[in-house]
């Protein structure tokens, strides 16, 4: 865990420094300069932070589904705790991705919310996982709550790839990667990353995922302590 913690700190610090401080110029001379992306300009730096946040959402929801499935197989309460913790973190990252996306949309698409397929699908995901927590809080019997939540987490997890990877690509929209925009040459901006940007971007994805693993570890350990306190024999 120490390696994960230190790697998360080092990688995210590097992404913050290079993502914010590396100048964006028309003719980049090397890895220390980013090219101008027409339509995005300085806003292109958002790619290093907004996209990894959205990506971590997907990972967290899929991990929640995985532990939900494991609970259904093993009936081990620890799997239920992990499933809930991961769904909670996924929800948090999903809210952050929605807010940062809306902020970015205001300055690229003209308004905070456009009901673009990508925005609509992330909104539906927020509703789906909001309902997951409503379901959990509505059931008092521990085993029933864990069993129903695991089934729900599995079904909810199955919808994640559809809403994130499929729906926004089969319907035309404003977001890069929408239907008719396989190369990222969207209706608003031409979205292509240079190798220097790609390195920072991939490190951003890795760093945010490591941060998620660290947060999940702390959340699961506190959940275990809470669980032991509520059931001394458990």
């Amino acid at each position: 865990m120490n390696y994960i913690r230190m790697s998360a700190i080092v990688i995210i610090t590097y992404v913050l420094i290079s993502g914010i401080a590396i100048p964006i110029v028309p003719q980049p001379q090397g890895w220390f300069e980013f090219p101008v992306i027409p339509g995005l300009e300085e806003k292109a730096r958002n790619i290093f932070f907004h996209v990894p946040t959205a990506w971590t959402t997907v990972v967290a929801f899929l991990v929640s589904m995985w532990y939900g499935l494991r609970y259904l197989r093993t009936r081990n309460m620890d799997d239920d705790l992990k499933s809930e913790a991961s769904a909670g973190l996924g929800f948090m990252f999903c809210v952050l991705a929605t807010i940062t996306g809306a902020l970015w949309a205001k300055f690229n698409w003209g308004s905070f919310w456009n009901w673009d397929p990508r925005e609509t699908s992330i909104f539906i995901l927020l509703l789906i996982y909001g309902a997951y927590f409503a379901l959990r809080s509505a059931i008092e019997v521990e085993e029933t709550r864990a069993r129903l939540s695991a089934v729900y987490a599995t079904l909810a997890g199955l919808t994640v790839p559809f809403f994130i990877f499929v729906l926004p690509r089969i319907v035309s929209g404003l977001h890069p990667g929408a239907k008719g925009d396989p190369e990222g040459a969207g209706p608003v901006v031409e979205f292509k990353m240079s190798p220097s940007m790609l390195v920072v971007f991939i490190l951003g994805l890795i760093g945010f995922n490591l941060l998620y693993v660290w947060l999940l570890n702390v959340r699961v350990r506190t959940a275990r302590l809470e669980y032991r306190r509520s059931t001394p024999q458990g």
């Binding site: 610090t13 913050l16 914010i20 401080a21 660290w214 702390v218 350990r221 302590l225």
Partner: protein
């Protein structure tokens, strides 16, 4: 721990008194943003590490 904080604080004060550094930041304002972001990130990491430590203590006391 407090020794490190005091030393870091002294460095910050010395750098802020140095006019060339202030001028540099006045001309390259993006680095002010970077400083703010890094401070926030350092705060979050510090908080998380403290939280991690406290959870570990609770786990050990429960054994």
């Amino acid at each position: 721990m407090s020794g490190y904080v005091l030393r870091a604080w002294n460095i910050v004060v010395r750098l802020l008194r140095d006019n060339t550094m202030i001028e540099f930041f006045a001309q390259h304002q993006l680095y002010i943003v970077l400083g703010v972001v890094l401070l926030i990130w350092a705060g979050i990491v510090g908080y998380l590490m403290r939280l991690d430590g406290r959870v570990r203590k609770l786990e050990e006391s429960g054994k």
